[in-house]
């Protein structure tokens, strides 16, 4: 238990009144009543009961087992609910009777995932991975700087932070082996990513332009896109990753409203090619990058500090690309940035890159924790919820 009372936010805590991420929690006393909470410091504000007590029009939207109804309500409602929650914290304290210490609640997968798409937006990662996967080919494929490459992942195996991840089994073939063999992955890896959750849907045939990004994206989370490199490298030509990824994708329990990152907007890297109009953000009114600073720890040791600001493709560009062919968006659609890697050797977002393809990769029992923060107003930090997971041996249930 923290030493301070719910009525004080510790100095420098990144979960202050400018962060206020949403999650879904239960208490030991009501394990069958999942509902929406808002993180404040080391506490969870029960948003359902706190708003109901005040007779808020949004109390029903918050007394829900997933964020989807709130996300579907649209940006004006998101803004109104956030203002109402902030109003409760005006004196810097949590409203009495509605706060639970974080370590006394259970956090659940905060939204029902519709479609899950994973991008590949870091030039550093794509170049490094390309060299390792295709040593005799071009590291960066010719399309890479013209469009944000992405693919659909498995929505049904997205799990919340804290869920153990069992080492997957499957077909593996090392380059020097003649035939594939079956067994536990020998090259289990992480991918530190940032995820974006769609709230407002878009019907078919209505591409989402760059400047409508804020109307559709509800919030931001952290992602660990677990990857079995040996399964992936054997299976992925020509239709892309499948079983090397589909066993589990972990997301943080907290979804931080997009608005919380207003002070962290930064220009993306200079573009090497002029972009087609639907992707051209060179004259956008606000910069498309976000200065989110990730930290990856394995068994408590920091192995990397990947900078999200270095991503070549922005989340707005990814959304515009994903819908430009007329594909609809649903509430709960979820897309991840791809591995976040920066230019420096201590900024790489996966072990494939960190170890130059040689390993070691994850061992059974390893615990991976990814955390992040972004600059807020007046020197404050905006925290993102961590995404954590432990590797269990293959074959276990």
């Amino acid at each position: 238990m923290p030493q301070h009372s719910p009525h004080e936010l510790p100095e420098g805590d990144p979960f202050g009144a400018d962060a206020l991420p949403y999650g879904v929690f239960t208490t030991p006393g009501a394990p069958d009543h999942p509902r929406i909470g808002v993180r404040y410091g080391a506490y969870v504000l029960d948003a359902a009961t706190a708003t109901a007590e005040r007779g808020s029009a949004y109390a029903d939207l918050l007394d829900q087992p997933v964020l989807n109804p709130l996300m579907a309500a649209g940006r004006p409602v998101w803004q109104a609910v956030r203002a109402e929650i902030r109003g409760m914290l005006d004196d810097g304290t949590l409203p009495g009777g509605h706060a639970h210490p974080l370590d006394e609640v259970t956090l659940h997968l905060p939204f029902e995932v519709a479609d899950y798409v994973d991008f590949y937006a870091s030039e550093h990662h794509a170049t490094n991975a390309g060299r390792i996967f295709r040593p005799n080919g071009q590291a960066l494929p010719p399309n890479w700087k013209h469009l944000p490459i992405g693919y659909h992942g498995r929505a049904g195996t997205v799990v919340v932070s804290g869920t153990d991840v069992v080492r997957p089994q499957g077909q593996r073939k090392a380059p020097d082996e003649e035939l594939p063999s079956f067994g536990p992955s020998r090259r289990l890896d992480i991918e530190a990513e940032v995820g974006f959750v769609v709230g407002t849907p878009a019907p078919a045939r209505t591409p989402v332009p760059l400047d409508a990004f804020r109307d559709h994206v509800f919030g931001v989370c952290l992602v660990n896109d677990w990857s079995a490199r040996d399964i992936q490298s054997w299976e992925y030509v020509p239709l892309g990753p499948f079983l090397g990824k589909s066993f589990a994708t972990s997301v943080s329990a907290w979804i931080t409203p997009l608005e919380a990152f207003d002070a962290a907007r930064v220009a993306p890297p200079a573009r090497d090619f002029p972009l087609l109009p639907y992707l051209d953000d060179s004259s956008a009114p606000e910069p498309g990058g976000i200065d989110i600073r990730l930290e990856v720890r394995i068994n408590g040791e920091v192995v990397s500090r990947p900078p999200f600001s270095a991503m070549y493709w922005t989340a707005a560009q990814q959304l515009a690309h994903m819908t430009v062919n007329g594909a609809s968006l649903r509430t709960g659609d979820f897309y991840a940035s791809g591995t976040v890697s920066g230019p420096e050797s201590d900024q790489l977002g996966c072990l494939l890159e960190i170890t130059a393809g040689k390993g070691p990769f994850l061992a059974d029992g390893d615990e991976v924790v990814i955390t992040a923060w972004a600059p807020g107003r007046g020197g404050a930090r905006i925290g993102l919820g961590e995404v954590a997971g432990r590797v269990l041996p293959a074959g276990g249930r």
Copy 2:
């Protein structure tokens, strides 16, 4: 209107008592009450009211706007419901008061799609497509005969037969062009496929062995996996198809129970490599192939008759592969076979193959209809519902 009464099934009609596919329909008189129907000849039996009248224990499962609750109920229930429906038809007639002529109802997407996976299981298609997409490489990748290659598609854009398909726009780059351009696809294609719908879920870390296929797969449908070849060929390296496919995937309105194909089981082609145990069906008690005979018509003209019996990988192998890494299955998971192509020039399942990559591809206004049947008991035919769609010009809403 058909000339015969609901009390007679025309001679040779493939939708007799051994087919009985399920769908979801509304009538003009009750457009807000979608419910489950069973096709019999040119009629829809209102399964909800017909079972309710008899006091069936399953009436509630059938008075639903999607098949998912019935699919989730498991194989013993599927068998019991089918037996009950067949019992109503014992004298070869439909129960009075519960039959609607097919052309007087509206058919809806029959199930809520969880995850959608598309495979690549025809050796003929994979070889032909490989030659066209990778003229300087190996046509069939080295992994192809060791595992059923597949990838996740977009579940949110699966549409029911009859839905118009708007020509997608996107980035296209012909091999002789230096830079990509933006515009409507110039190479819009079809892919004639057979789809399998999962009923009984499987928790994470419980791979579905070959012999549990029947316990999990509820039924079979036809699929048109619309494909924009120019968008696809520019985007698909290295992470697979994305926008070239994600604008629309059409499925038939009717899901035929797996059991209806018992008389159509055939051995798959001889395998060129021994398969790893989880895929080895050489000593399976029942053959894994299904003799479904497809027919593809464009604007009324037959362009191909692809044989599903020629598929190298079976649906049971695909399910075993999809779950061998520990990925869970959900009710509504849906997987398609990949383009069905046979060895002959009149058995190719897409225009890419039919025209050897040269086109012509689909023109605006073209109507594509895929139908199929399989051998049933005593020389009868088991019909599958058609999957039809018309191409609308790009940019329309």
